[in-house]
Symmetry: C2
Subunit: 208 residues, 2 copies
C-alpha cells in the first residue's frame, strides 16, 4: 500500500492446526485498508506428514534442529502462490506479494529467492496475461530481512505486531504457545529490535 498498490489480500485455509492466523489476517487487512480479503478453502487431507496439518505429528518445542523441519508443508508456497496467481488473473493484477523470509529460517526450500524467481518464470508462461504481454511479478519484500528488521518495518508502517500470529499452534484466541520454533524466532526478533514483545501468550505456556 505504501507503494500505491490497491491491495487484495488472500489467505488460504489449508487445514492448518489453528485458524487464528486467518482471523488475524482478516482484521489486519480491514484495518490497513485492503480492497478485499478472501479466504480460499482447500481440503488438504492429501498433505499428511507435516506437523502443521497432521494432528498425529507433534510440533517440536525444543528448539530448531538441523535440516528441513517437520513443520514443512509439502509444496505449500507453490500452492499458495498458485491460488494467488489465479486470483491475480481474475483481478488483472500484475504483482503478487508474498511474506516469505529466507534469512532467519532457511530450512524451507520454498522460501528461497531462486525458488521465487522460478515461480515467476513459470507464472509468465502459465497465464492469459502473459500471452497478452502483461508480465506478472512475484515480490517478497521480507525475503532478505532479519526478523528484527521486520519488527521495525511493521511498526514504521503502522502494523501492530501484537495483532499478528506467528505461532504454529496458537489457541483459538490467537494466543501463542511461546515454545515452538516460530515463537522462539519471533521473540528473538523483538529482542534484537529492542522492541517490547507485545505478543499475547497463552498463560500456561508463557515463556520463562
Amino acid at each position: 500500500m505504501r507503494e500505491g498498490f490497491a491491495c487484495h489480500a488472500l489467505s488460504v485455509d489449508y487445514g492448518q492446526r489453528h485458524v487464528a492466523e486467518l482471523g488475524a489476517a482478516a482484521r489486519l487487512a480491514g484495518l490497513l485498508g485492503a480492497r478485499a480479503h478472501r479466504v480460499a478453502r482447500l481440503d488438504a487431507s492429501i498433505f499428511q506428514g507435516s506437523a502443521l496439518t497432521d494432528a498425529a505429528v507433534e510440533v517440536p518445542l525444543d528448539g530448531a534442529t538441523a535440516g528441513i523441519p517437520v513443520t514443512y508443508v509439502p509444496a505449500r508456497n507453490t500452492i499458495l502462490l498458485s491460488l494467488a496467481l489465479g486470483w491475480a488473473e481474475v483481478l488483472e493484477a500484475r504483482h503478487i506479494f508474498v511474506g516469505a523470509n529466507a534469512i532467519d529460517y532457511s530450512g524451507y526450500p520454498d522460501c528461497r529467492p531462486e525458488y521465487l524467481r522460478a515461480f515467476e518464470a513459470m507464472a509468465n508462461l502459465a497465464t492469459k496475461a502473459a500471452l497478452e504481454g502483461r508480465r506478472i511479478e512475484i515480490r517478497a519484500p521480507l525475503i532478505d530481512l532479519p526478523k528484527a528488521e521486520i519488527v521495525r518495518l511493521a511498526i514504521t508502517l503502522g502494523v501492530d505486531p501484537a495483532m499478528t500470529v506467528s505461532c504454529y499452534q496458537a489457541d483459538d484466541a490467537g494466543r501463542a504457545c511461546g515454545r515452538c520454533d516460530a515463537c522462539r524466532i519471533r521473540r528473538a526478533g523483538f529482542e534484537a529490535a529492542g522492541v517490547v514483545d507485545a505478543t499475547r501468550y497463552a498463560k500456561r505456556n508463557k515463556p520463562r
Copy 2:
C-alpha cells in the same frame, strides 16, 4: 502403469460446472488398477469469470473462436500441478503425469510444453525432495498427440473412451452435450481415428 509405475490418481474438485468427470476418474482409476484415487477439494469462488466455474458465464456452443476461450480457468493447471506436487512429496513420488494436450487446442497458455518445463524447473527448487537431490519429473504423455491418436492409445491401453468425460457441461449422469468445444474436438478425434464414437450424449442435445 504400462511403464511400471505404481499410480496414485489425483482429481481436483474446484467448483467445475459438473462433477461427472470426478466420478469417471474414480471409476477408471479403480478399473485400471491405480493404487489410490483422491479428490482434493478447493473452494475456488475466487476464480470468477470462467465459463467452467462461473454459472453466470455461458459455455460457448457455436464452435471454437480465436484467442483464449472463456472456458479458460485462471491458473488452473498451475493449481492442479501444485496440488499434485504436494501429494507427490508426501508419497515420495518422482514423476507427475498430467493429461495436458497442446495440439488440437492451443488457446490455453498452461497446456504448452514450455510452460510444463518451467513448472518442472520451479518444482525442483520448491521441494524437500529437490533439496535432497531427488528430481521431480513432470510428464505429459498426451501433449503432442492429435485427438485421433489419443483415442487409439486409449483403446490400445484398455481404456473405454465411453467411460471418459470431456464435455464442459456434462449432466450428472456423465452424458455429454455434444455441442461445446470439448465435445466438438472430441468427436472429430473419433472420426479421424475411424473409431465409433461411443460417447453417451444427452438426448435433447444429441449432435445432428
